[in-house]
């Protein structure tokens, strides 16, 4: 597995459809270019200044018919190509079956991914073949674009948005993964690999990964599954206090008090969020009392405490 084939192999049905569309369009365009070039060259020779060809005028109605004719032909041709392309585009949108969801985080200048069982990778993405994969992608900083040439797909990862990209790869192999949206100094080095494996190889690969089962890692997964990240996360649409580095720092409250964000404060804020509302934010957070077990509460706190170091490690 090397060389140009890691880019140009068609590793999905959709990639082969895109190729068919592309090469049909190329053939058609080639024909039109040859037609135009042929006419220009043909006329240039036949009607060069000193040739004997007839210069008689054509009747105006005939000229108008030419004009109408090629206008209509062009419209018809373009609508046909548009129809074909759009049919393919919309067909590809419908996901087939229950997809395997993998979270992808893009940041300057790496791709990080996390499988459903907590297995993490950097600049590599292992996926099973013949199974719908749904990538749920977020960016931590600027716009990146997840591009796998062999799958003929690309999706910008815009900060503040969660972008979805689904595909079914059907040809095991190692394929290039690139960032296609200019993202700063090392944009051209933000590359990696997508490794498509048979289902059983993928299961085998998963079993050899060490899922991060530390308390903080469990807390991070809870932060997503309980919905905390929906408001407090990087890309949240609801306005809620950011929680990076909050542990141990002073917090100004709406009633003018300033408290330190210690264990008790964080715990209370999860269970009785209306009690200490942070200045500048609305009291819209629901209480999680009864919805989060004590063990999970500990895990969440461990995550909130650990967050700064964890980021430092990743950088």
């Amino acid at each position: 597995m090397s060389g140009l084939s890691s880019f140009i192999s068609a590793a999905s049905e959709r990639a082969r459809q895109t190729d068919l569309l592309f090469f049909s369009a190329t053939a058609l365009s080639g024909f039109i270019v040859l037609l135009v070039a042929g006419l220009i060259i043909g006329f240039s020779i036949r009607y060069r200044k000193n040739s004997n060809a007839s210069r008689a005028e054509l009747p105006p109605p005939l000229l108008r018919e030419f004009e109408t004719g090629w206008t209509l032909a062009t419209v018809l041709l373009f609508v046909t190509i548009f129809g074909w392309a759009s049919a393919q585009g919309f067909g590809a949108m419908t996901p087939a079956g229950e997809p395997l969801q993998i979270n992808v985080v893009a940041k300057q200048w790496m791709w990080k991914s996390e499988h459903p069982g907590g297995e993490r990778e950097i600049n590599e993405l292992h996926v099973p073949a013949d199974r719908a994969i749904l990538l749920s992608m977020n960016s931590q900083d600027v716009i990146h674009s997840f591009f796998v040439p062999a799958l003929r797909i690309k999706q910008d990862v815009v900060p503040g948005h969660t972008e979805a990209l689904s595909f079914i790869a059907d040809k095991p192999g190692t394929y290039a993964l690139l960032c296609a949206e200019y993202c700063g100094t090392q944009h051209s080095k933000m590359t990696g690999k997508v490794i498509v494996m048979e289902e059983e190889d993928y299961a085998d690969w998963l079993s050899h990964q060490e899922a991060d089962n530390s308390l903080a890692a469990q807390g991070e997964r809870l932060f997503t599954t309980l919905g905390c990240s929906g408001c407090h996360g990087h890309s949240a649409n609801v306005r809620a206090p950011p929680l990076e580095n909050v542990y141990g720092s002073p917090v100004a409250l709406a009633d003018g008090r300033i408290v330190e964000a210690d264990d008790a404060y964080l715990r209370d804020s999860i269970l009785q969020p209306k009690r200490d509302v942070v200045a500048g934010f609305k009291p819209i957070m629901p209480s999680f009392a009864g919805r989060v077990s004590e063990a999970n509460l500990l895990a969440l706190l461990a995550y909130l405490k650990k967050k700064p170091q964890q980021e430092a490690r990743d950088d």
Partner: protein, 553 residues
């Protein structure tokens, strides 16, 4: 068989013996520096613009040269990452805003619009001069940003990279582009008012040369679209300087808003760049085919249709940015539709050759090259308008190749064609034909060698704006760089032989090409006030083979 009488019925010009009136614009008001820097003569302002746009063209070209040299090898070894990023930003900003957008309207357009309309000047001569100073002011700000350390956002200034993450001189460059935008607006306004109010007697709308129609449509786009760019750039500066949260997702802003604003200008801007080129080519092909343009009315409506539909296709730049699939569908359809009038123009140019009496002087070679390269650029535009293909080739070299075919293969070829065509009128000198033909052919060959391999690179998956790349792509980059060498020579040659002709070229007659059009009825170079008396038009444009005088050989 002769064409010498082609324009004899077009106008009535009264001879005058008045010495002052008879002197050309080049000598009439002196040759001091201040007589040029404070001139309000549209012809002299055109020369000022010609000098400034040429300087920017070679600055942008120098950046392109370094980029091509870096890409000779897969490793990023010639310059540092950040330097490379600053080079392609410099290339894009100078080429687009300080060369491609202004060049034809402000040089050929400034010179020719009043002449073609039979007017003494543009409607607002002082505004015209002011627009040059705005352009220079903006250009100097952009140059200052480069000298201070450069800008690394790409010419597209995408947020949040440009607003929060870039540590380069983004604000100064953005303000430079902002300022030069007003120069575009001033020029557009001037052309619109001039075309409406200053046409000479008998010059009805449907007797206007297509060059005028093209500049008129371009002016409408400049006037309507440029303010949106100005807003988008000011918002970036506001975010950088005052921390306003317009595009910042962490505080409720949205980076996609910037893309909508930016492309609402920048897609129509593509037509700002190409429409004047289409106008030039229509003038040249009719002249050297000795033929009335095929389907004049269709050509006029095609120009207007491009200008109007061009405002509604910006979303095709955002197919992969997470835009709704239904929006993608609509923008895809409209992008196909905007290609229809372009196709009509290509067919009409080709049909104009039919039963012509064709000669192949340099302007004609450039114009025919334009038609071929524009056709290839336009057709690959349809690939990009198809959503499934765009998902693959978006932000790859396929896109780079596509827009260079339109902008460089099309627009720059048209500009060089027009420059040669009207050179005798502007300078009063003939250029050396053989040299010019050689340069035109070399430009065509060099261009295809440079950019055709980039279509292949793009489909193979080579993203744009990559400093280093996978070794598999090297042979295509080597071909591209070799082509760029040819292209560079082809661009430098006119600098020398046109410069030479200024001093040693044979004097040009009033109408060396035996062309129709009012600009050819006055002296070469034209007198200070263009015409000795107001011309009167009595016939259709491009009357190269008047009715009732068949010209069978």
């Amino acid at each position: 068989m002769t064409d010498t009488t082609a324009d004899s019925g077009a106008v009535e010009t009264a001879e005058t013996t008045d010495e002052a009136l008879g002197r050309s614009y080049l000598s009439a008001s002196g040759s001091t520096l201040s007589s040029w820097l404070f001139t309000i003569d549209h012809k002299r302002i055109a020369i000022l613009y010609a000098i400034s746009t040429t300087v920017f063209f070679f600055i942008g070209g120098a950046a392109a040269t370094l980029i091509r040299l870096e890409l000779l090898t897969p490793a990023g070894d010639l310059v540092a990452d950040d330097t490379y990023n600053k080079l392609f930003t410099l290339h894009g900003i100078t080429m687009i805003w300080f060369f491609l957008v202004p060049v034809i309207p402000t040089t050929l357009g400034n010179f020719l619009v009043p002449l073609m309309l039979g007017a003494r000047d543009l409607a607002f001569p002082r505004l015209n001069l002011f627009s040059w100073y705005l352009n220079i002011g903006g250009g100097l700000l952009a140059l200052a940003a480069i000298i201070l350390g450069g800008v690394d956002t790409g010419w597209t200034f995408y947020t949040p990279f440009s607003s929060f993450y870039s540590n380069s001189y983004v604000s100064i460059a953005a303000l430079g582009v902002f300022l030069t935008g007003f120069s575009s607006i001033a020029t557009g306004l001037n052309f619109i008012v001039t075309t409406h109010t200053m046409r000479c007697p008998g010059l009805t709308w449907f007797r206007l040369p297509l060059f005028i129609w093209a500049n008129y449509a371009t002016s409408l786009i400049m006037l309507l679209a440029t303010p949106v760019l100005a807003m988008a750039l000011l918002l970036i500066v506001a975010e950088r300087w005052f921390g306003l949260a317009i595009f910042d997702p962490t505080r409720g802003g949205d980076p996609l808003l910037f893309q909508h604003l930016f492309w609402f200008y920048s897609h129509p801007a593509v037509y700002i760049m190409i429409l004047p080129g289409m106008g030039v080519v229509s003038e040249i092909i009719t002249c050297f085919a000795r033929r009335r343009v095929f389907g004049y009315t269709a050509m006029v409506f095609a120009i207007l249709a491009i200008a109007v539909i061009g405002f509604f296709v910006w979303g095709h730049h955002m197919f992969v940015s997470g835009q709704s699939s239904y929006a993608n569908l609509v923008f895809s359809f409209l992008s196909f539709m905007v290609a229809v009038p372009s196709a009509i123009k290509v067919f009409n140019w080709t049909a104009t050759l039919f039963r012509g009496r064709i000669t192949f002087e340099a302007p004609m070679l450039y114009a025919l090259g334009f038609v071929g390269l524009f056709t290839m650029g336009g057709l690959t535009g349809l690939f990009l308008a198809s959503v499934p293909i765009d998902l693959h080739v978006h932000d790859t070299y396929f896109v780079v190749a596509h827009f260079h075919y339109i902008m460089v293969g099309g627009m720059v070829s048209a500009f060089f064609g027009g420059l040669h065509f009207w050179w005798p009128k502007i300078t009063g000198r003939l250029y050396p034909e053989r040299w010019a033909q050689a340069a035109a052919i070399m430009m065509f060959v060099g261009f295809n060698t440079t950019f055709f391999p980039q279509y292949i690179l793009g489909y193979l998956g080579m993203p744009r704006r990559y400093h280093a790349y996978a070794p598999e792509f090297q042979m295509f980059h080597v071909a591209s760089t070799l082509g760029a060498v040819l292209l560079a020579v082809a661009y430098l040659m006119p600098l020398f032989y046109l410069g030479w002709s200024l001093f040693f070229g044979r004097a040009a007659s009033a109408n060396p090409w035996e062309a129709t059009g009012l600009e050819w009825t006055t002296a070469s170079p034209p007198p200070q006030h263009n015409f000795f008396s107001t011309p009167v038009v009595r016939e259709e444009p491009y009357n190269y083979h008047p009715e009732g005088t068949p010209k069978d050989a």
